[in-house]
């Protein structure tokens, strides 16, 4: 089945032929058009390039293949260039793979460095995208053998390695990190189980049947807490830095990227590599690259999460490289690496291209045209972003009453876009509350996302591997049990022969790496606290404070989930029970630690300080609330107001539909909270609604949910979103 053998000269000829074809003016124009659409779709949170690509597909029928792929890839490659803009300015991830950008980008905006952060994000997106395309270009001859070598056990090992990043991303709170990771895995298990079809934790709702979509959870976990804290603090995001020099910051951001080119190279290859593995969701590449940077960059443990530009660079360079990576399985095997790639596969067929060996040989010039399209799209995309950047950066200096209603409205619609039903909004609200509490009580949120994205994959490949190869593969003491097996593992030259199908040496190495990676921070933590003996002796009578209620709540929820899982079929419940058990054990240990550990410093008054003191001196691997100066009472009061707005939003939506609700939200919020003048409120609301109408009703044709008013007065259904 193999078709390698494209030698260097042949490759170079194909590459240059493709380049010359692509830079013809009309093709560049299509590429540019794709880029502009990609950027616009990317900026709005919750919308990827998926719908855009599906709608564009018919227009490419009449084009030649170069132009068609230029247009489609231009769109696909740049959607993640626009993603960091809301992430940095408002703490709202613009796409699933730029949640990690929030961690350092948003604190930078708060410090008045929005210009620098945006600039670093674009430049690292550009460089990451180009490096990713380069990786693809040079690895073409080995693509197919490598992909064929990676079976389900190897994919399982990669996912486990990914999840072992939990240890790094938990920072100073390893126990809470692991507990959050377990919760993430449990959430990933919601829905119809792939083995037995058992409906796990769906509570008889069709919405949960397919599992919770990622977007509302991410927006809830990361966006709503930032918006809530903005309301609590009642100041502009970059309060006190209104006069910051944006152009100087931009230049600094570019310089940062060139200073850290090696980091960009590594992170983009992580992104490209993970993006190229079919069946592993690329929505975690940002966290994996971020975790990698945290582990390897000098001094990162002290500054990451507090506005270190390297955090932005790591995340953004990886997520722009992933689209190049996703192209790999699509062209080499016809297995789309992402949803956008599935549509691209349709375009292949239209142009008479068959994915597989031919694409790496006979049609190599078209493959290279795609590589070039991605590289050029990244350059064009970043260039366009630079052109508008100074205006964007100023947004961070606006007062909160101007920022909140628009961002909140768009977050709502972005979440609703996920699967277009009410459940998305409930999920958004629920995870908004959970995310805010986690942020206040210093539970790291990144591990939850890792668990959520990788949990599903791990279960899937674990069962495939078990069913196909039997349990012996996963029992380390059986690895060297027979003489043949023993000699095999000692002779690495045999690892890349067909015998690898039996012993899976690569899987074993990766699994060992994952276990080491997972345990090391724990051991270091124990050592830091003076060894096990000290740990076991420095206890006191239990003390109680309100922050522990969250841990207790967590234990109760996990317990309830485990109990609900007990009656299921064995294959459906085994992973949830094990993960739930670990989660409960770890959370109980954490709680015990909180209650019975002797305090080492004076306890302050604010929630934030208390929590910080609990997790010790080491870096807290997440954003922290900067509302610490306010009394607890005020914080709770204003948070209640914030979530009250969310509830009111949903209640209003039931009655009058989504788009009219946005109008009401803008008017009520701006009048009540900021006492803004009508001459500002009306045009603001009008612009927002027209924008939403064009994007979602006209362009995306979102099926809006029914509203009471539309039911009672069918005539009113003429208003957009009133059904």
């Amino acid at each position: 089945m193999e078709g390698i053998g494209a030698d260097a000269a042949f490759m170079a000829a194909a590459a240059s032929k493709a380049f010359l074809a692509l830079i013809e003016p009309h093709r560049l124009m299509f590429l540019m058009l794709g880029c502009i659409m990609g950027l616009v779709l990317g900026i709005v949170p919750g919308i990827g390039g998926l719908t855009g690509t599906a709608m564009l597909l018919p227009f490419t029928f009449a084009m030649d293949p170069y132009s068609a792929f230029a247009l489609l890839l231009g769109l696909g490659a740049t959607t993640s260039t626009g993603d960091p803009i809301p992430a940095i300015l408002f703490g709202v991830p613009g796409g699933a793979a730029s949640a990690a950008t929030v961690l350092d980008g948003f604190p930078m905006a708060k410090k008045g460095e929005a210009g620098r952060a945006l600039s670093a994000a674009y430049m690292s997106s550009l460089m990451g995208g180009v490096f990713g395309a380069m990786l693809l270009a040079i690895s073409i001859p080995i693509l197919r053998p490598v992909m064929l070598y990676l079976g389900s056990p190897e994919l399982l090992a990669f996912s486990v390695l990914g999840i072992s990043m939990v240890a790094v991303l938990s920072g100073s709170a390893p126990l809470r990190g692991v507990a959050a990771g377990c919760l993430g895995i449990m959430i990933a298990m919601i829905g119809s189980d792939p083995q037995t079809g058992t409906l796990r934790w769906t509570f008889d709702s069709l919405y949960l049947w397919d599992g919770l979509p990622l977007t509302p959870i991410l927006l809830g976990l990361f966006a709503l807490p930032e918006l809530c804290d903005l309301l609590i603090a009642r100041v502009a995001i970059a309060a006190g830095f209104e006069k910051a020099d944006i152009y100087k910051g931009q230049w600094q951001g570019v310089k940062d990227c060139f200073d850290n080119w090696w980091l960009i190279l590594r992170c983009s290859w992580i992104g490209g590599g993970i993006g190229s593995i079919p069946g592993i969701s690329a929505s975690v590449v940002d966290w994996l690259a971020y975790g990698h940077a945290l582990k390897t960059e000098k001094g990162a443990h002290l500054t990451f999460g507090k506005g270190d530009v390297r955090g932005v660079i790591a995340s953004e360079s990886s997520n722009n490289a992933k689209e190049g990576g996703a192209l790999v399985p699509t062209i080499a095997f016809g297995v789309p690496g992402s949803a956008t790639m599935a549509i691209l596969l349709g375009a292949f067929l239209i142009h008479g291209l068959v994915p597989g060996p031919d694409m790496l040989h006979k049609n190599l010039d078209i493959t290279y045209a795609m590589v070039w399209s991605i590289a050029l799209a990244n350059i064009l995309g970043a260039g366009l972003c630079y052109a508008f950047s100074p205006q964007f950066a100023k947004l961070a200096t606006l007062r909160y009453t101007l920022i909140l209603p628009a961002v909140l409205g768009i977050v709502y619609i972005g979440a609703f876009e996920a699967s277009r039903q009410w459940g998305d909004l409930y999920a958004l609200l629920f995870f908004g509350v959970v995310g805010w509490l986690m942020k206040q009580f210093k539970w790291p949120r990144p591990p939850l996302v890792l668990g959520l994205v990788l949990g599903d994959t791990i279960e899937r490949y674990l069962f495939i591997s078990l069913e196909r190869y039997g349990p012996d593969l996963f029992l380390p003491w059986r690895w060297l049990a027979s003489w043949d097996s023993f000699t095999f593992h000692l002779s690495p030259w045999r690892w890349f022969t067909s015998e690898a199908q039996i012993y899976h040496p690569v899987m074993k190495i990766i699994l060992i790496m994952a276990v080491v990676g997972l345990l090391r921070p724990f051991l270091a933590d124990i050592k830091r606290q003076g060894g096990i003996s000290k740990l076991l002796t420095s206890f006191q009578m239990p003390t109680f404070h309100p922050a522990q209620l969250f841990t207790m709540f967590f234990i109760v929820v996990m317990g309830a989930l485990v109990i609900a899982a007990l009656p299921w079929h064995f294959s459906a419940k085994i992973v949830p029970l094990v993960v739930g058990g670990i989660g409960i054990f770890v959370a109980v240990s954490s709680l015990f630690n909180d209650m019975c550990r002797k305090p080492s410093a004076v306890v302050n008054e604010s929630l934030g300080d208390k929590a910080q003191q609990e997790v010790g001196e080491k870096i807290h691997m997440d954003l922290t609330s900067d509302t610490g100066h306010l009394p607890v009472r005020t914080i709770v009061q204003r948070a209640a107001i914030f979530f009250g707005y969310l509830l009111a939003f949903m209640a209003t939506m039931v009655v009058i539909g989504l788009i009219p609700t946005v109008v009401v939200l803008v008017i009520v919020f701006m009048r009540l909270e900021g006492n803004e003048r009508w001459s500002l409120v009306i045009p603001y609301a009008a612009c927002l609604v027209v924008g939403i109408y064009i994007a979602f009703d006209y362009f995306m044709a979102v099926p809006w949910p029914q509203s009471l008013i539309g039911q009672v007065f069918p005539a009113l259904r003429i208003i957009p979103s009133v059904h």
């Binding site: 599906a54 018919p58 069709l206 239209i350 495939i464 044709a701």
Partner: protein, 353 residues
Amino acid sequence: MRHACSRVLFAVLSVAVLCAGLICGSAGAQDSVEAFYKGKQINVVVGSSAGGGYDAYARLLARHMGNFIPGNPAIIVQNMSGAGSNRAAGYVYGVAPKDGTVIGAIFPGAVLQPLLGDATGAHDPSKLIYLGSANSDQYVCFVRTDAPVKTFQDVLSQELIVGASNEGATTRDLPTVLNNVLGTKFRIVTGYAGSREITLAIERNEVQGTCGVGWTGIVTIHPEWFERGTVKVLVQLGIKGHPDLDRMKVPLAIDFARSADDRAVLELVMSQSSFGRPFVIPPGVPAERVAALRKAFLAALQDKSLLAEGEKMKLDIEPLSGEDLQTLVRRLYATPVHIVERARQALAAKPQR
């Protein structure tokens, strides 16, 4: 503030009422299909997300069908994924307006599952009105030629490792039923995300074959496999043979049935192959609009420009008329209870090891 608020609201409301009045008025004036659809918009609600096969068929149809409906309404596609299209089916059945402005593009599973599965959807497939199906696909089992199993007869005595996705997917359900009804020895490895992932697993020899993928789909993605003899089709899983496969002398699985009941069970489970892409409208749509939509559906699928586009996109077009599909579904739902019960058991039983 409140005063200004209510004034704005009043203005909005009065404009809305005015517009609505105009539309209702024109509809009431002429009671014909053309008058109804003139200037209207039809929404095609697809039960999958953008980019999949169902979406591609729906968008293809949406681009052409409007020309064949009197009044030439605009047709747009909305994606409403979820629960194997049961959500979209439930929406079309119970929520959507029953005036012929909403068409559902659902999976065959959403027609059959309420009969054979445990899942209770919000819709009753026997009461939906069918516009027809855009294609019929023949499901097949195929294996690598280097696998020990060479013929379908061999699977009755030798184990064959086949890749499958989750329960409810044909790749899991069809080999399971074959194991339970015919006594085949498929070792079913479940959990692959979809048929593309399964074919990759076949390519890397993680599984030896698969059972229950559509013939037209697989031969489009991997024509070289069949030309070079890398893989071999073992058996057809349909009620009647596909011309290409009959030419290759591939047997039909139902011909291996040992009793009339066995055959009836297999026919019931495999019936979905004859309506690959069903399009439905809610019960209660006025009869003359149903007739117009059914006619337009068939006409669009026989239209030259649609066929040319479908050819380019490698979408197989083999329409089944609405009347025929309606009859077929009625017959499925009239299957004797003991056959349905046996089919349920054959589907639910754990895959043999």
